[in-house]
């Protein structure tokens, strides 16, 4: 008898525990949350780590001046690009959070457009700033990067 009661309790408990979110309509987030790293953050981190390695190699005499400069420039460029993207994303996130003042909002928008232009992501036809790697404008369909 004790076994049967134990079994019923166990099965019931497990079923309730697992199904609780569905019954209660609790939803887990399935998107990146605002306080964790984005793809740009990961790229920034990886580039900075690589840059640190190169600095270390140069400091300990494993890299020639010329190679060091070339690698440093390549990695700094990648890191800067990632940092700029992170900045833009943060400013946009701030805007969405409605804590930004009008001038900051403008500043963020300008920064986004500037990075977009630098990378050929801002559409020449309608001015929409597209996501990285886009070949066509998501707003008007015009080809990008001409």
């Amino acid at each position: 008898m004790g076994v049967i009661i134990g079994a019923v309790l166990l099965v019931g408990g497990v079923v309730l525990f697992v199904l609780y979110p569905i019954i209660q309509g609790q939803w887990a987030t399935l998107h990146r949350t605002s306080d964790e790293g984005t793809e740009a953050d990961a790229r920034k981190r990886v580039s900075l780590l690589a840059l640190r390695d190169v600095e270390m190699d140069f400091a300990t005499g494993k890299l020639d001046e010329e190679d060091y400069r070339a690698l440093q420039s390549e990695l700094s460029h990648a890191a800067l690009k990632a940092i700029q993207e992170v900045e833009v994303q943060q400013k946009v996130a701030d805007l969405v959070g409605s804590t930004a003042t009008g001038s900051e909002a403008l500043e963020a928008e300008i920064a986004a457009v500037r990075v977009g232009i630098a990378e050929g992501r801002t559409c020449a036809s309608c001015g929409h700033v597209n996501s990285a790697g886009s070949n066509f404008c998501a707003s008007c369909g015009e080809p990008l990067g001409g």
Partner: protein, 685 residues
């Protein structure tokens, strides 16, 4: 308790299966409630499996011989310690233990990612639950249920194989299983990255610690296994290229390859497909290792009775998972294109690539040598065996090149090495390596393979020592601190790199020990009490062992009899202590087993085996005239370096695993955006 455990195992299966479906559907339809339920299923399955495992342990501790598994692997006289370890003593329990550990890691992965990396989690949860469901399916439906009952309760159990009654046995399998199961987490993230198409650097950052954790356990597990073999199998060796030893080595080799090649992806944006492939391959090999051990397909000291159902289920599962992984990689091939090309073969990326090829070459040779007997038997119907000769002759040269590369990789430049770079960084270490080689030749040694290995080891060790020296000097200069502080800061600022170097020192020690094995001395001598035998060490001194006689014990708790021979030891004629070696006849095992006597020093082990008591009957009745015994005496040079090297490897891996804090934290800090953007680009070393 045991009935509840069995019930828990039966409930765990549908819960895991249901959770798998919820996770994949939730991921596909972006339904947060389904995913949350699936994550709860992971917790529930872990709870249920803990209950099931507790049920088995309770059955062992309570001598419940109505259970087939307990009856087969325990008896009333068995130590409580080994009874508790009965959970992983045999095929059935160890499969349950395997899936328990996987569920434990799954819980950790789901819990630590409950607020981050959310876009990966539906499929990560799905993959983890798929693997758990598979193992539960095996446990319940492949005639290996550990809760299976006998028609009637037996009075006593058949006992545990005496060779497994060793403390290393209690920790070697769990450690190895921790390594095997932990690698499922990187695999789950890799599959999730492929399914979601988020193939940027993030998933690599997420799995880095998990990969290292798994590698740490695999390394320690393999070393523990070697130690067990050395102590318990009584032949003076530690590695016999046994199929199951090989199976545990395979994922270690590919995981090692991945730990290196991931650095090329991070630094140079290359080898993305390769890395994805290595994660999949390593995980597949962990399952293959489990399959090989637990199906009993290959005869080995580790494996159990052949069970063709289990073999077929495992093979089908491996086939499906490998095919799906390959298809996913092909599907995402365009997103995995390299961003750079190798510019010169004299560069760090080329050295890493060569390292990868060698590791995979060794893995392939080991894999082939392991499965060849199976294929051979299937084709010809005759038993074919591949002995240590094949493995040693193929792997020794590859291993030596790999050893040499360990000295090249850290100091060769990224992109391309100039002559100046090569001259500046290699001149001194090469000099030391050649010096050691020349010195040993001058001392009269002609064991060429070993001598080259010693030379290479000296070369690599010097490279690493110089690295630490230069790094500490540079750090001390930058921050104006004392050398010990600078060293500490140097390591703590880039734990992976310096931890890696510490691991390399450990590997060098292990290679040195392997090479020293060819200088092993051994002799076999039959002695009467009072007689002596003298053996010369390769280091020049001698050991004289004087046989004192046998002491015996009859009908002890779990032994029929026990005969312990005592020998006093003198080094260069000066007494240094004594050594004992035994023969034991367990009540539950058909043949006597040997307990070796080991006297270890930093440079050699004196290893004594009681090969035979010439007149056992008289010896056991303490007859002074029947004490004649044959001994095998060995001197194993530098064998201790394997264990010290293993400790070094573990320490280095722990340095790499230690959580880092500071400017390059894995995720964006809690700092305000304004502060966060102030992070400098020019990072100090």
């Amino acid at each position: 308790m045991t009935i509840l455990g069995e019930l828990a195992l039966w409930i765990a299966f549908p819960v895991a299966l249901f959770g798998t479906v919820l996770a994949f559907v939730g991921g596909r339809q972006q339904r947060g409630d389904l995913v949350l339920s699936a994550e709860r299923a992971v917790y529930a399955v872990f709870g249920l499996l803990t209950l099931a495992s507790a049920g088995i342990v309770a059955a062992f501790l309570g001598d419940r011989f109505e259970y087939w598994y307990v009856w087969n692997y325990s008896n009333r006289e068995l130590d409580v310690f080994y009874k508790a370890a009965g959970l992983w003593a045999g095929q059935r329990g160890s499969l349950l233990f395997w899936v328990l550990l996987l569920a434990m890691f799954s819980v950790i992965a789901v819990f630590t990612n409950r607020k981050k990396n959310r876009e990966f989690m539906p499929y990560v949860t799905g993959v983890l639950l798929t693997v758990i469901t598979f193992f539960l399916c095996v446990l319940l439906f492949a005639e290996v249920n550990p809760f299976e009952q006998l028609p009637f309760a037996q009075a006593d159990g058949r006992g545990l194989n005496p060779q497994l009654q060793n403390y290393w046995m209690t920790i070697h399998p769990p450690t190895l299983y921790l390594g095997f199961t932990a690698f499922t987490i990187p695999f789950a993230f890799a599959i999730s990255a492929l399914l979601t198409g988020r193939l940027d650097s993030r998933w690599l950052v997420i799995i880095r610690k998990w990969t290292l954790l798994s590698w740490f356990f695999l390394s320690v597990g393999v070393i523990f296994g070697m130690r067990w073999a050395y102590e318990e199998l009584g032949w003076g060796g530690y590695w016999f290229w046994d199929p199951v030893e090989n199976a545990s080595l395979l994922p270690w080799l590919t995981a090692t390859a991945f730990l290196h090649s991931v650095m090329i992806q991070e630094n140079r944006g290359m080898l993305k497909v390769w890395n994805m492939g290595l994660v999949t391959l390593t995980w597949t090999l962990t399952i293959f290792a489990t399959f090989l051990t637990r199906s009993g397909l290959i005869e080995s000291v580790h494996s159990f009775a052949t069970n063709s159902t289990i073999a077929l289920i495992f093979l089908a599962f491996l086939g499906v998972t490998v095919s799906v992984s390959i298809l996913l990689i092909i599907w995402r091939y365009d997103d995995l294109k390299a961003e750079n090309e190798i510019q010169s073969f004299a560069s760090r990326e080329a050295a890493f690539l060569l390292n990868n090829l060698l590791l995979l070459g060794i893995a392939f040779a080991v894999f082939w040598g392991t499965i060849f007997p199976l294929i051979g038997e299937a084709l010809t119907g005759k038993k074919v065996s591949v002995g240590p000769g094949f493995f040693n002759s193929v792997n020794a040269p590859l291993g030596m090149v790999l050893l040499g590369l360990m000295g090249v990789g850290p100091v060769i430049a990224w992109r391309r090495a100039t002559k100046r770079n090569i001259k500046k960084n290699f001149f001194m270490p090469l000099g030391v390596g050649l010096g050691v080689f020349a010195l040993l030749v001058a001392l009269g040694s002609r064991q060429w393979m070993s001598l080259i290995t010693f030379g290479l080891s000296a070369f690599v060790f010097t490279v690493i020592a110089v690295e630490f020296f230069k790094g500490t000097k540079a750090r001390a200069r930058i921050e104006g601190s004392a050398p010990p502080t600078a060293l500490l800061h140097l390591v703590s600022r880039n734990r992976r790199r310096w931890g890696g170097y510490i691991v390399h020192v450990g590997i060098v020690m292990i290679f040195t020990a392997f090479a020293a094995a060819s200088f092993k001395m051994e002799l076999i001598q039959t002695l009467e009490p009072g007689e002596s035998v003298t053996i010369e060490s390769p280091f020049g001194h001698t050991y004289t062992l004087t046989y004192q006689g046998v002491s015996t014990a009859l009908r002890t708790r779990n032994m029929e009899w026990q005969a312990q021979a005592l020998l006093t030891v003198a080094r260069n004629g000066k007494p240094v202590g004594s050594i004992t070696t035994e023969k034991r006849m367990y009540l539950t095992y058909p043949a006597p087993v040997t307990e070796v006597g080991i006297r270890s020093t930093a440079f050699e082990d004196l290893y004594v085996i009681l090969a035979n008591a010439e007149d056992l009957g008289r010896a056991l009745s303490n007859d002074a005239g029947g004490q004649r015994a044959t001994f095998e005496v060995q001197i194993n040079p530098l064998v201790g370096w394997i264990w010290y090297g293993g400790l070094m490897v573990a320490f280095g891996a722990m340095v790499g695993l230690w959580p880092s804090k500071g400017s390059l934290a894995e995720h964006r800090s809690k700092a305000t955006p304004r502060e966060a953007t102030r992070e400098p680009v020019g990072v100090t070393v």
